[in-house]
């Protein structure tokens, strides 16, 4: 097992900078999840760590070793690809043993290690099949098996579950979580799926345009986002943002009025007071609306999405800004009618409208 250390890693393709300088330190045995919008460089960063892209600027260390210029095969990393990338002409057993064979491990040893991995992943009875004779979930397991037989120091996963159906995804997610517990290896996992990120990660790395926006445990990111981007990205449905203006400052309390709701004032506790009259953005998560809270916003409901236990109401303010409210299965809310949503000031976040930075 080994930790991982990235120091100002940069990457550009044909003169276009994609990764702008990443500093990240990963502890041994940690489960790290990369999230971020499409094209932000998650895969590129993973490929830099794997050595599939050359790192020209910055430094990558795995354990005690500087691997910045090492060959992919010499880094002690294994990767699970989104498309599985199994070798089609080899049986499952050969697929899983290929890496060991290339590294000169003897036949008996390979057999034993493949059998052990197959046992963990319930692949025992599929070992003589070709990849084309497997289902998607089975192929996924073979791809993971191919990674674990090599006993790498670091596992890399690039959206490994995105080609599976919803039910299988849940199952494989649990299997990956179990695998991590069992092997205790360092894992880096790229995903688009909120739930995968929140449930699997020890720490989540939120990326945007080739830069790290914030690193922290899932709960830290959810409870205490550093900026509007992270606040919007973590949590589903995404956080609502409302334009606000500072109207009064008394000690460490700042009062803002919501532009879309003229006379509604929200009084927040801030360490650093703001200037009266300056603009701000107030963020409130859909699930933090609560019928017994103090501040009331009345909005017309456009659409209701009822999932049974939870229900989301989609509303629009007078100025046309969207507002999503978790109505907690309240059957009395009707589409086309006004609804009064309530929230506590303590649940609201304030952001700088220019930089998106959190105002604390």
């Amino acid at each position: 097992m080994a930790g991982l250390e990235l120091t100002s890693v940069k990457k550009s393709f044909g003169g276009v900078a994609i990764i702008h300088g990443i500093d990240l330190s990963i502890r041994s045995g940690e489960f790290i999840v990369f999230v971020g919008p499409s094209g932000c460089g998650k895969s590129t960063l993973l490929r830099l760590i794997a050595g599939l892209e050359t790192t020209l600027e910055g430094n990558i260390r795995i354990g005690e070793r500087d691997v910045t210029t090492a060959d992919p095969g010499d880094r002690g990393v294994a990767m699970v690809f989104q498309t599985y990338a199994l070798y089609p002409h080899m049986s499952v057993r050969e697929n899983m043993g290929f890496g060991l064979r290339m590294n000169g491990v003897d036949k008996d040893d390979i057999r034993k290690r493949v059998d052990r991995a197959a046992d963990i992943l319930h692949l025992d009875r599929l070992l003589e099949r070709k990849p084309s004779e497997l289902s998607g979930g089975q192929r996924q397991r073979v791809a993971i098996g191919r990674a674990i037989v090599r006993e790498p120091e670091v596992f890399l996963f690039d959206e490994p579950l995105s080609n599976l159906d919803a039910e299988l995804r849940v199952r494989m997610r649990l299997e990956i979580a179990n695998l991590h517990k069992r092997l205790g290896a360092t894992m880096i996992y790229v995903t688009h799926d909120q739930i995968e990120a929140m449930t699997l990660a020890d720490r989540i790395v939120v990326l945007k345009d080739g830069l790290i926006e914030q690193v922290g445990s899932p709960i830290e990111l959810y409870d205490d986002p550093d900026n509007a981007f992270v606040a919007g990205f973590i949590g589903s449905p995404r956080m609502n943002f409302l334009d606000a203006k500072v109207v009064a400052v008394e000690g460490d309390h700042t009062t803002v009025s919501l532009v879309d709701f003229d006379d509604i004032h929200v009084r927040l506790e801030l360490e650093r007071p703001l200037a009266v009259g300056s603009a701000a953005r107030l963020g409130i998560r859909p699930e933090h609306f609560d019928a017994s809270a103090e501040i009331a916003l009345t909005v017309p409901i456009e659409v209701i999405e009822n999932l049974g236990g939870i229900a989301y109401a989609y509303a629009r303010t007078e100025d046309g800004n969207p507002l999503i409210i978790d109505i907690k299965g309240d059957r009395n809310v009707v589409e086309g009618k006004d609804f009064t949503a309530r929230f506590d000031a303590a649940r609201a976040y304030l952001f700088d409208p220019e930089t998106g930075l959190r105002l604390r």
């Binding site: 095969g73 990767m79 990338a85 199994l86 070798y87 590294n103």
Partner: protein
């Protein structure tokens, strides 16, 4: 009812195809059993196997068979080997790749006759030929290719024309080789050799089989290249089956014996095709 109707509607094309095939085949078989000497048209009549006997016992027969097989075998080995090497070499992006590919493919678009003339006069000619010029540059005696190594010359000419075909097929196939598979192999620590043997070669098995099959069919009946360059000589050193049939029919004016040769060629082609299809069938099953 509908089946009868369907049969009826299919009938014209089936009958036409049958005629297309059966009439020439039937005539060849018929000619092969009669005396048919253009110089003595008055002598005719059924002769049984004697045309076959004549063709078989022709001292040129076994050399021609051997030459045919040598020609096909060597050209296959050269074109597939060279085709693989070049296809792998240009299967990456570099400036000028498009132009290079067109240049590499272009020999395939030259007519066989022109190709043979080109080689005869510009490459192999003992005085003006490029090879002779090179030999002279190194102070060596130029080789009279068409006299001293006639079959080798034909092999070179045909290989030059058909290597592009192999390249074309292989490069297309290499382009849909999954790049993630290659990356997975890199992470597994496989070097170029291992990747070639365990991943690329199995991936190319089918295209290789296709190239071998198509080329065999074409090369069994190579004629223009021999006619233009060596005329089957010296002696029968570069006479293949097709050329022998031609020699019988138009140089010996004996249509009967030539037809017997034609029938033999059909049988030979079928034997080769039988083995090829079995071989390829195995590959296609994967």
């Amino acid at each position: 009812m509908t089946r009868t109707l369907a049969r009826l509607l299919q009938a014209p094309s089936v009958i036409l195809l049958l005629l297309w095939m059966v009439v020439p085949l039937g005539m060849t078989i018929y000619f092969s059993t009669i005396r048919y000497q253009l110089l003595y048209p008055e002598r005719s009549g059924f002769v049984g196997w004697s045309n076959y006997e004549f063709f078989f016992t022709d001292p040129a027969f076994w050399p021609a068979i051997l030459n045919t097989l040598t020609l096909v075998g060597s050209v296959l080995i050269i074109t597939v080997g060279l085709g693989l090497a070049i296809a792998l070499l240009i299967d990456r992006s570099f400036p000028g790749r498009g132009v290079l590919r067109v240049l590499l493919i272009s020999p395939f678009f030259i007519m066989p006759t022109v190709n043979a003339l080109l080689w005869k006069n510009m490459m192999l000619h003992p005085i003006y030929g490029l090879f002779a010029v090179f030999a002279g540059f190194f102070g060596l005696e130029p080789i009279e290719w068409l006299k001293d190594a006639p079959l080798l010359s034909v092999i070179m000419i045909v290989s030059w024309q058909w290597t592009p075909f192999a390249i074309l097929i292989f490069i297309t196939s290499l382009q849909n080789f999954d790049s993630e598979q290659k990356e997975a192999a890199l992470l597994d620590g496989a070097g170029f050799r291992a990747r070639f043997i365990y991943l690329i070669l199995p991936h190319l098995a089918r295209p290789i089989a296709v190239v071998i099959m198509i080329q065999t069919i074409f090369h069994l009946s190579i004629f223009a290249e021999i006619f233009v360059t060596t005329s089957g000589g010296p002696g029968v050193q570069s006479t293949n089956l097709a050329f022998l049939i031609f020699a019988q029919a138009l140089q010996g004016f004996d249509v009967g014996v030539a037809s017997a040769g034609g029938v033999l060629a059909i049988i030979l082609a079928n034997i080769v095709a039988f083995f090829l299809i079995r071989m390829i069938g195995r590959n296609l099953a994967v």
